[in-house]
Subunit: 349 residues, 4 copies
Amino acid sequence: MKIRAGVLGATGAVGQRFVQLLESHPWFELVALAASERSAGKRYGDACAWKLDAPMPAAARELLVQPLEPRLECDVVFSALDAAVAGPAEESFAAAGYAVLSNSRNHRMDADVPLLVPEVNPDHAALIPAQRRNRGWRGFIATNPNCSTATLVLALAPLERRFGLKAVAVTTLQAVSGAGYPGLPSLDILGNVVPYIAGEEEKIERETKKILGTLAADRIAPHPVTVSAQTTRVPVVDGHTAAVFVTLGSDPGPEAVCEALASYRSVPQERGLPSAPAHPTVVVAGEDRPQPRLDIGVERGMASVIGRVRRCDVMGYKFIVLGHNTIRGAAGAALLNAELLQAQGLLQR
Amino acid sequence: MKIRAGVLGATGAVGQRFVQLLESHPWFELVALAASERSAGKRYGDACAWKLDAPMPAAARELLVQPLEPRLECDVVFSALDAAVAGPAEESFAAAGYAVLSNSRNHRMDADVPLLVPEVNPDHAALIPAQRRNRGWRGFIATNPNCSTATLVLALAPLERRFGLKAVAVTTLQAVSGAGYPGLPSLDILGNVVPYIAGEEEKIERETKKILGTLAADRIAPHPVTVSAQTTRVPVVDGHTAAVFVTLGSDPGPEAVCEALASYRSVPQERGLPSAPAHPTVVVAGEDRPQPRLDIGVERGMASVIGRVRRCDVMGYKFIVLGHNTIRGAAGAALLNAELLQAQGLLQR
Amino acid sequence: MKIRAGVLGATGAVGQRFVQLLESHPWFELVALAASERSAGKRYGDACAWKLDAPMPAAARELLVQPLEPRLECDVVFSALDAAVAGPAEESFAAAGYAVLSNSRNHRMDADVPLLVPEVNPDHAALIPAQRRNRGWRGFIATNPNCSTATLVLALAPLERRFGLKAVAVTTLQAVSGAGYPGLPSLDILGNVVPYIAGEEEKIERETKKILGTLAADRIAPHPVTVSAQTTRVPVVDGHTAAVFVTLGSDPGPEAVCEALASYRSVPQERGLPSAPAHPTVVVAGEDRPQPRLDIGVERGMASVIGRVRRCDVMGYKFIVLGHNTIRGAAGAALLNAELLQAQGLLQR
Amino acid sequence: MKIRAGVLGATGAVGQRFVQLLESHPWFELVALAASERSAGKRYGDACAWKLDAPMPAAARELLVQPLEPRLECDVVFSALDAAVAGPAEESFAAAGYAVLSNSRNHRMDADVPLLVPEVNPDHAALIPAQRRNRGWRGFIATNPNCSTATLVLALAPLERRFGLKAVAVTTLQAVSGAGYPGLPSLDILGNVVPYIAGEEEKIERETKKILGTLAADRIAPHPVTVSAQTTRVPVVDGHTAAVFVTLGSDPGPEAVCEALASYRSVPQERGLPSAPAHPTVVVAGEDRPQPRLDIGVERGMASVIGRVRRCDVMGYKFIVLGHNTIRGAAGAALLNAELLQAQGLLQR
């Protein structure tokens, strides 16, 4: 018996990824789709301007899109809602008893909401019982980080564990799919770089510290690492690249840094979660790698792909990291969170 | 009477910019073009696959391309030669009495060759007499920096002068015209980011320190600033963007940083050199600026265009800077150097 | 004394081109800008997200954007209005006495409205007195064609005049600026081709026949040429390319076809209209030309640039034509129309 | 027991596709790789700059690249050789007894060499015995068409069969991967259209007529259809789009044209060849389809994807067709040819 799953905000770019990743999932069965009033009442195949390069799953095509109300016939909902509506909508689902796995930013920084990366802070899931008590909810909300944070923090965690982590300065080169659909006008990005993404730098700076933070007495103490980000948009469809400068707690040498990254395994790998990559952090050879076009498919988009690890006179070390922004950075992240919670016995009421 | 000028490597991407910028120059007259054996003996209009978006100047079209030998009927040569041939070729011209204004990397770090940015280190031109003595040359070589360094160091100089400069960590997003023609294969860069440019990071790190260095007793003492670079190629035609993290000698606040940048003037502005921008460092408004497509034409490509100056928890300050890589980063830089030397009385024998 | 001009829809992509082209125009002075309610009341510099690569003219920056009502202090208005609002708005201006030079599609096919290309059908301006009588207007509306038609018909006219014209089958590769701003979402066009532009094929087919048609007794008899179009969008910023197959009334050979195109001159050239290109149809050498990036600036964007004229076994002849879609295909076309009407004494009341 | 297969020109763009498509093929086992002298003697993993977005198959990585001499330990060779070397190299392999399935243009128009599209002219394989006799070869050469022809002719065949075919005028918008690697310089194609591909138009015109031709007495009588092509390059990575104007032998109406395309099946489908698409010609819904980014994966790149079938005043009908240029247009085409010949008993000696 599979767990019945729904998708909130099913017609958008991230919603489409949820629909795609849930097709023939071993644990979850996609049974319900919800979206804004404009789409509600239509067949998904008619309501949704599908923008992925593999065809829409046939089963999803026939599902009726429902309104954003907590009356879906399912147990778990994956939320790809716009921040403009996600706040109260997700709360109403959680109050009504649904497990809400949210990709939206609204509740990520709430003190009693876990911001989970299963390979990094699986213990933060322990906030969920407290959240239910605090809010009197039968269900709960668990969130995954912003797309850039997801890729970055996965690459930082092995370093933090092994060597300690003092400071991070990062510049991102982000793909247009990260802005959703319609997202950026083509006139703004064709042959261009836009050196600004609203709210993104603050998200990277805050979320990284929470994810790497320590749980004690139902609270997360943020990690003391200092983080500074500059975020840019580039004419790439899928795949966020980041150039990272980092100061570690010791000076282990580039080989040891690579070894720590290449050998990292954590709870999702040990538990064999269905969406877990075999290697969450992959070190790629080649002095000009990783590249979005060549490396975005590594581990089906669920890994951070790292290259060019080397010394830096200013910060200590520097490297490049690439991640799939709508898989590991969004829908795949929430799905892996759901698998983690199921393995921990926290998913179902 | 104009000064007679030639271009070495006239058929390549930077050579074409020299030809374009020398059209109707008030001080120089383009009278000679030289290139590799393949092109020598042809009309320039036939030998050159012109790739600029304005048409080839009519006068240049009829010039005969000559071999790379120091028998050109001119006084000054602008060198856009490939590094593979620039070393001895430029030396032979300098020995024969030509003023060689070189964009090539070969002699930039030679102890007795000035690496000039007229707004930053015009006094370094004083190396030229020593160079002539050392080498027994009637002419000389003066160089301009690498395209990324050119943009960066112009933005750093006002900060170094006003506040002191301790450390710089920079990530570049560089245009394909910086790789010349044919340069990058389209399959490598369409919809992609390549996080590596051979030799570029070392050039930025070394050249910045020499340009900001101090001349004493016919030697340059490099500036003690620590510089670390990560360089990437993005699908943009013209315009290198850089995301800069910087530690200053004091903490003046972002407004004072902007003011130092916006008000900067130097020798080229004071002397009214023909190619000098009115403002070498332009601070652009708008939280999503500068952008290559919108800002590449500021000051006819001769300024560093700066935006998003703000505090950084890791390094102190961070900002975005954009420059035109084949104008201020190459041909325009060498031309402004020639104008500076002429104003200093050093150009002609 | 210059003629006072206004721009309707001044904040959009074509409106910005009008503002740019009217800067320092010898006959017109830009004195009024009007736009939708959202912009009205603001300074143009604040209301307009300027997307052209040269800076906004300083004078325009300070103008106050006014509502779309016929109370502007000027004689001529250039309309870049959206089709959704252009119909009644342009009529109200014409009724109130303004000369309306419209780039919008709404009135192009009206029987008493000239659809003008000054090099092709300057005599169609004679519809204007009839239009005023019919509609009881003190002013009038004159239109220019759709951006693709503009480029195509300019290349067809010399052939029609010299050899006769029986059939045209054309496939366009159109730039994204033709869709205005925000226009196409970047996810739809990055690394992609969209083989459909709503309404575009019908416009090309109908407008070409009207422009090449014959005026008699205050009516235009459409030209009997058969026209069939397929229109596509490609990831290019500015410049519509078209691959044209054409059946002429005779078989003059490719050299004669080229000669007819290269030697074409018409009324705007004879009258020396300020925006007229010296050569409205330019035949470019090079078997791989014209190209948007290299040839879009020919004749400041006011010419159709033609290449690869050769025989075709199916239709007789085939060639490539390129035009600047927001200059000759939009704002520059309307401006040249205004200059023609002024030269004909039809512009002012 | 699988048939042992080799790839000639294994390191290029099409050679890489062969290696990818032969991984875990049910009938063929990739056992040998050959390439130019520069690569010979190296491991494939070292010799080849892999440019596909899925990783290099592990087995291929370890194979030693051999010289282009007919001493490979295999029965069939797939040739992705450059036209500069393919002519004599393929002949030497065929003379030595290999079945040569060639993607190169050199022998396509030879009178005794079949130019095969298994869904269109499987009977042309009967040229092979005559070819062996003529040339005294133990092996043979069979070719597949040029990438654009492959997509086009697959869409034309169902129409030719059902309605007759009189004339075709086609404009292509071709992807950069069709030019191989390094292929087009990025400066030539970023944000640009190049309206010329050397030799391509002639190939489309000639090859289409041969493929649709009739076999009689060991000769192919070309089909009398008139074909005219204009070919352009656009900034797309994979997927050639074509806008087709066509005159049929009758006027069946657009619905009947669509039905003929959607229902087409032929020998590869009947025989169940492993690489055969279920539907060789897929009619896609949506007025703005097919698009490279959304439809390139239809039938794993082995179908012609057709949309926008409608009447045309000039030629009768017009439509858009898309095909994967390195799969159905190159490596996949040769592989399907090999499967056809194996099913016909012609592959092995």
